[in-house]
Amino acid sequence: MAPVITIQDLVKDFQLGEVPVHVLKGLSFEIDRGEFAAIMGPSGSGKSTLMNILGCLDTPTSGRYRLDGISVEELDSDALAEIRSKKIGFVFQQFNLLARTSAVENVELPLLYTDVPAYERRRRSLEALQAVGLAGREHHQPSQLSGGQQQRVAIARSLVNEPSLILADEPTGALDSRMGLEIMAIFQRLNREHGITLIVVTHDPDIAAYANRTLHVKDGRLQEDERSTHPRDARIDVDRFEAEALEAEPIKAGSR
């Protein structure tokens, strides 16, 4: 099966005043359909830049990037927008939901820029919300939802255009550990049950532990490509977390 992502000798330079900064210094890897990969690295390692290029928000200085068989590196901004619209779903650390806009309308957002008719948009958005366990909260606004729920709305938004790839940038960074576990459990379920290709960018090894594969990036190079056949199961960890919380008395009702 053809890989979703093929990257060869990917280089990205930035011009900071007079000095060129080499952020990515020749990365090569492939990601297969249905993989759940984590990209790990300390800040300044270039993982955000890599993520931007993978997400077609930025283009490499040199090297090749094929997404679903399409060479992305020479496309103009409108063509890149088209690719993002059809093939990529984003999940951000800060959720980036539109304020004072209902959950279902937030989920519909990517479809507004496609040819999908209104009733189909609504149907698919409701379905996506159901998939992340938010049935019944379709008309809540972000301010009426908890952080974890907001991130789930964001995941539903990334699912709604049926992308080839979901890119999550520190998806648990703004959440407490229990909520973070819930999000990872959802990712694992989407990956296993729906075969969705997932890339999570993180600096946290505990989060990377839930992926089948971890790409360690350091100083703009791929340092290690680690595959694990038996990653941790987030669902089990959520249950364990709850059991521990119950034991650790006293807990006031309604607090976390």
């Binding site: 927008a81 088209e82 993002r84 059809k86 980036n96 806009t101 938004r157």
Partner: protein, 411 residues
């Protein structure tokens, strides 16, 4: 087309989310458009009123006054000599092809008495043609006829102001008024005409047969018993005014035996032209008012640009997100452009309503006639839309060309 529909939907949603700000932004346009509508209304109302006054004089009128004469180096003013006669008027009416009517008139100030009341007014001795020429109509009674003029009957037709002052509410027709000790029967009352362009009350007048006026009231001119104070001439059409004036001059020079090279002993004036100058000045005022009001509309447009710029900055992350999930630059551009145009058009519609209300209030309470034309309403609407496009374009462009990566990180 589809892009536009999507943009309209997204823009309306965004405007609903920020209701207060949308309303405040619109306020600038509302005030601007309302000012334009109201000011243009006031201006064209004034112009219209002057036009009405000009029409109240009568249309296509030329007035011929007995002329100045140079007698031993002393130049007398217009009307100083009795050179114009009733026969001149008759000749003008019959011999000149461009002249429809010519009505001679004499006038003088008198004190008129009815019972215990008296009133100072102007008496005009006229012929029945005068009624047609000046577009007078009768509100009650009859105007006198040619027979009355020939027989010099003692019939009088009163203006409304005279009636009010002498009779109050009672019916004057058939009553007898005394003018210079001569009793006159009131034959009829003129329909009020209001003010003339020069501000005179056209209803403060008594019309008498010209013969009666000359013989019994004002006294005939000692030098020439047939001399009249003026002759009003009506051309057959507005286009014939110049011809009528030339014919009048030629005929009168011939009748008065004025040798070529010598000055006329009469003066011809085109009444319409005299008052057209006033109309022009009113029109200039209307344009000026409209122009000043347009400035406030432009200021409103700058308000829209200002708010849209703030909005773009404030919604940087939203723009970044939209770009990330697949919006093209043109989607973002049209979204913000549509927002600006929606603000200005909705503001324009409200402004038109406010402007019309304001004009109605102005005409009601300031008793200043206003006139809302469909033209000014449509023009304001289109202009406000253009203001939206013009002032919305820069912020929209700024939004569309944001870098999505930076926009997403914007705090």
């Amino acid at each position: 087309m589809k892009t536009l529909r999507t943009s309209v939907r997204i823009a309306l949603r965004a405007l609903r989310v920020n209701r207060t700000r949308s309303a405040l932004t619109m306020l600038g346009i509302i005030i601007g458009v309302a000012a334009v509508i109201a000011m243009v209304g006031v201006g064209s109302g004034a112009t219209e009123r002057i036009q009405e006054e000009i029409q109240s004089i009568g249309s296509n009128l030329i007035i011929v006054l007995p002329g100045s004469i140079n007698s031993n180096g002393v130049r007398l003013g217009s009307g100083g000599v009795a050179t114009l006669t009733e026969d001149d008027a008759k000749a003008l009416a019959t011999e000149c092809p461009s002249i429809a009517l010519a009505a001679p008139a004499v006038r003088g100030g008198v004190q008129v008495v009815y019972g215990n009341n008296n009133w100072a007014t102007t008496v005009q001795g006229v012929t029945p043609d005068y009624l047609t020429l000046r577009d007078y109509t009768m509100s009650s009674g009859q105007f006198f006829t040619t027979q009355d003029v020939d027989a010099a009957t003692k019939n009088a037709v009163l203006g409304e102001t005279v009636v009010e002052n002498l009779f109050g509410d009672s019916n004057p027709v058939g009553q007898v008024v005394i003018i210079k000790n001569v009793p006159f029967t009131v034959a009829g009352v003129l329909t009020p005409k209001g003010q003339s362009p020069t501000g005179q009350d056209q209803d403060d007048v008594i019309l008498l047969p010209i013969s009666t006026a000359m013989q019994k009231v004002l006294g005939a001119n000692k030098a020439n018993a047939k001399a009249v104070g003026s002759v009003m001439v009506q051309a057959i059409s507005p286009d014939a005014m110049d011809d009528a004036m030339e014919e009048t001059e030629a005929l009168l020079r011939e009748r008065h035996r004025i040798l070529p090279g010598l000055d006329d002993d009469f003066t011809i004036r085109n009444l319409t032209e005299v008052f057209a100058a006033q109309e022009t000045s009113a029109r200039v005022m209307a344009i000026l008012l409209g122009a000043i009001a347009s400035v406030s509309l432009i200021v409103g447009g700058i308000g829209i640009m200002n708010i849209m710029l703030v909005s773009v900055t404030e919604r940087t992350r939203e723009i970044g997100l939209r770009l990330a999930v697949g919006a093209k630059r043109k989607n973002i551009l049209s979204q913000f452009l549509v927002e600006a145009v929606t603000l200005s058009l909705v503001g324009g519609v409200i402004g038109i309503l406010v402007g019309i209300t304001a004009s109605v209030l102005i005409s009601r309470f300031a008793e200043w006639s206003t006139n809302i034309s469909l033209m000014s309403v449509v023009a304001s609407f289109l202009f406000s839309g253009m203001v939206g496009v013009f002032f919305g374009y820069y912020p929209a462009r700024k939004a569309a060309f944001l870098n999505p990566i930076e926009a997403l990180r914007y705090e």
